[in-house]
Subunit: 647 residues, 2 copies
Amino acid sequence: MPRNKEKVNLVFQPSGRQGGVVPGLSILDAARSLGEEMETPCGGLQGCGKCKVRVAHGDYAQWEIESRVEHAGPRQAVEEELLAPEELASGFRLACVAAVQGDMVVHIPDESRRGRQVISKQARVNHFPAKPAIRTYRIDVSPSDLENPMADWERANQAMAAHGDLAGADWDLAALRDLPIALRRGNGRICLDVRMNREVIRARQNDQRRLLGLALDLGSTSMAVYLCDLNSGEIVATASGMNPQCKYGDDVVSRISYHQMNPGGLDEMRKAVVEAVNALADQTLAELNATVTGRDLSREDILDMTLCGNAVMQQIILGIDPEPLGVLPFTPVKRGSISIKARDIGIRINPGASVMVMPMPAGYVGGDIVAALVGQSEAMQDGPSLLVDIGTNGEVVLAHGGRLWCTSCATGPALEGAQISFGMRAAEGAIERVRIDPATLEVDYKVIGHPHWRSQWSTEAIRVRGICGSGIIEATAQLFLSDLIAANGAMRKTSPSKRLVINPQNGMPAFVLAWADETRLGKDLTISQKDVRQIQLAKAALNTGCHYLLQRIENDGTLQSVRIAGSFGAHIDHEMAMVLGMLPAIAAERIANVGNAAGEGCCAALLNTDMRRSCDRLAEEMQYIELTLEPDFAHQLAQATLLPSNK
Amino acid sequence: MPRNKEKVNLVFQPSGRQGGVVPGLSILDAARSLGEEMETPCGGLQGCGKCKVRVAHGDYAQWEIESRVEHAGPRQAVEEELLAPEELASGFRLACVAAVQGDMVVHIPDESRRGRQVISKQARVNHFPAKPAIRTYRIDVSPSDLENPMADWERANQAMAAHGDLAGADWDLAALRDLPIALRRGNGRICLDVRMNREVIRARQNDQRRLLGLALDLGSTSMAVYLCDLNSGEIVATASGMNPQCKYGDDVVSRISYHQMNPGGLDEMRKAVVEAVNALADQTLAELNATVTGRDLSREDILDMTLCGNAVMQQIILGIDPEPLGVLPFTPVKRGSISIKARDIGIRINPGASVMVMPMPAGYVGGDIVAALVGQSEAMQDGPSLLVDIGTNGEVVLAHGGRLWCTSCATGPALEGAQISFGMRAAEGAIERVRIDPATLEVDYKVIGHPHWRSQWSTEAIRVRGICGSGIIEATAQLFLSDLIAANGAMRKTSPSKRLVINPQNGMPAFVLAWADETRLGKDLTISQKDVRQIQLAKAALNTGCHYLLQRIENDGTLQSVRIAGSFGAHIDHEMAMVLGMLPAIAAERIANVGNAAGEGCCAALLNTDMRRSCDRLAEEMQYIELTLEPDFAHQLAQATLLPSNK
């Protein structure tokens, strides 16, 4: 290991990552600086207690390290608060609290390590009607000679006059840079790629290059890019990955905090995500070039881009202060769509290309829901219809009679697996499905990354790491159906099953979903009374949001359909959601998963300028309902925490 | 010295610069990579023989170097051609030819080192009528609340509606980034800085900040920036320096070659000059902030910019291929002015600021002459008038009867001191004035950087390094007046004065201006027959250009004035220029030095949008005369090489 006198040397286990860091950093910051990824749902703000680590005490000759527990400094009050007594006894520390003061070997337990999330951002539609913003014009430019010397631009402009549409078009600097080269290589016969007939963005030799565009669906957790052929309207390649901003916190509130607490934090987060977008774009190009129709296409051939995400994601990638999105009245910078040059935010596609950033109707009703809506709005025209997108917030749109209402429900992060005892995101090792036999109270479950239910495992050495949103919902619904939970959410305290346990600390009951030997946790994985309360709050928030939207059309029709967008919709069991009363009463067959509707809408807007106009129009028309302003909101929400009696 | 096995170690003397370089580089490239500056009038293209160096042979324990002459490889044919026999005998090599193959101590003789040029880019006018492109609007933005939630931009836009001028104005991303912060800091009362009433480029708290602008006069050799107050119209600070592109060659042709021969060379040159501009801008800000009226002004407060230079300089800083400017018919990318965002070329002023790049009427009639003209055109309205700007090319404009003709004369670099035996640029140590007593042929001269003539020196240890353009012109004129040169330019071969010497190699005469002991050259500084021929060609080119322009108005008036712009105009002795017949016949008092007219015009355009429109109009009106197309051009040029008989 390279030694450095001013730095202290760290080794992380089990990854084996090592390196020197400046003393005084928190172990978490040290881990980040060495590329070690840890779970930090709160963004390292000493709020969640998830970044547990253990510092080894001993001499490690192989790394020339004498690791001492005291090298992490004395234990702090916040650690005593957030860590369980047995964890404190075992020497656990919080990585966000403990400071690096000397050489250390740091063990990161499995539950603190970041799993690779399963990303389901695949578009289900692969072809859209094309009416792209970029059109190509072939022009013949007369030569310049000494008798009649004319500059390049003036000659090109003269030739463009033949195309009346182009009168007065601007030239981007990128196109001006192309022009002398294209003119001379092409002997005056050149192609101009023109945006909205208003701006020449590329000049090139007259050839048959494919025009590409990029749609970006930017989630707080995961992101996906879709490389599209602007003329055929096809998605030609896709790539997805984690949003690297996760290391600054799991939800938008933590990201806003990171920006507030760290000078330069906004730019740091912006650059992180932009680099990831660039890498994904390259990945799609490589994929396309590996196909028969691909070949030598490059970043330069990506001439247009659209982008959707929640308002915080959109403002961060634009480098716009997201702070007002985090405080009442949750104000976005602009309701309408924003068009900028891709280069101005560091996205490395054609230097003349623009990015259309989706409109943001409200602070918590972002561009992603507009993008989701634009592809669904036609199908939603027949009778009252709801579009639901559940993330850390639930965003809901009601369409009826040509009008649109929208709201955001503070479902909280529980449905994504956070603030749940053993909660985690939908990543490998997470329980995603649960069945409980009402008679025996025996449990069966399914783990992400493995095709079979627990009961069908043979010799698999699968070990559970936690439970994700859909798992928690199913577990809660199954406990309710098994009468282990009452309609008010109270868990039974006695049961013949040994799976019902009582927490000796607080006397509260919990239900064991997986025994210690089935997990990588070293202990039983349980659903606690507190977890059930979290789910009740989340489902109540969503239900209440739908309630107030439907109130707008009370005497005007019956709900015809509910469309669930996003990866949550892909995992959730509609029956179980109905059991819990998450959604308004509707027949299960009228609930549809519409998959990654946001990504598809983003592609549609990329490929069709009419769709872009629709996005702006929809955002303009969407009437935002702030739930907390409804006079009986508190009462309604409390009511909605109850589980339905008609189970 | 840090050792590196893959690199070889060089020490340059007398500077003492040292470092490791990759073997195989030319000594010149090695010098560049270590920041050592050398004279390279030809741009390192093995054409001028000015980059003479000597490799030491010996052991230098202090640097752990064994320097060997053979480490520079065998002598090449081009060196035998360009170096004098005695130089070859003394072991001189050309830095652009000799390759680094092992450790070396390299001596750079004084004449090969780059002197610091005396820059006379001071504007003579310090105040211009202000009608800036940037206007500030104060607006009161209504708050957003939960009952009526509106996004920031929509609220600002509503407030802007009160200013009819601003309807439909675009917002730069920079201003959009400012907006949420300004709104919240200013409690809704904010200032918008708007460009041409069309684009909001900055949003800020309502305060009284000064709005600044930057004008850049970008010469091939030197450059100057003028920091101006956009509202008062004053130049508040200036700074000037060398154009760092000089290391890629002294003239525009060498720079074009550097781009052609080096992949990435264009961007390298662009970045070099942009960094220098940024540094000069910072220098002016520091100067302003040190004054009473200054204080906390920063780059962010520079909201607008104009830029002028010859067409090659303008295209390089824009990153536009300058190659077509170097070949017939010398085509610029665009005749009209070009407006781009400063950030798109890396200039670090306010991120929303634009740069107006001056129009380029022709490949060799650049934005600098347009800028020079815009300030002079009013004064030139009374009768035929010439504006002359002499650099490596002479650019001449004739104004008469509301019409404009322009041309470029291939004066060559002789008037700037290049291609002259002992020529150098107007830098410290250069002879700039010369007097020769016709009776005794004794010489008196004045050296740049010293206030007194040679004859008035007492104990000064001044040593001459070379002779610059004005010195050569004076010397030639004085030799002509002393009858040492005939009207056809032939030098006498005999004279009683020991200053007339005959070159033993070619039998040609030369005249000693400074004896070896007065110089740092180790030999006599002479004006040779060849030098006189160069001056004849240069003055003939200029005279011929004026001739053909004046032919356009032959029967229509007598020349009323000649205005000489640029630093050459500041140094030149009008009488001597007339003696040589450089300019058309006119009374000496009708010749005016107009100083740095280009820089002043650039400031005028920065501060006044009417002036910008005038620039475009002037460039549009200027009728370019290509001299080589004139039927009797060759004859006329030959005639003009003669010296006037009416001396």
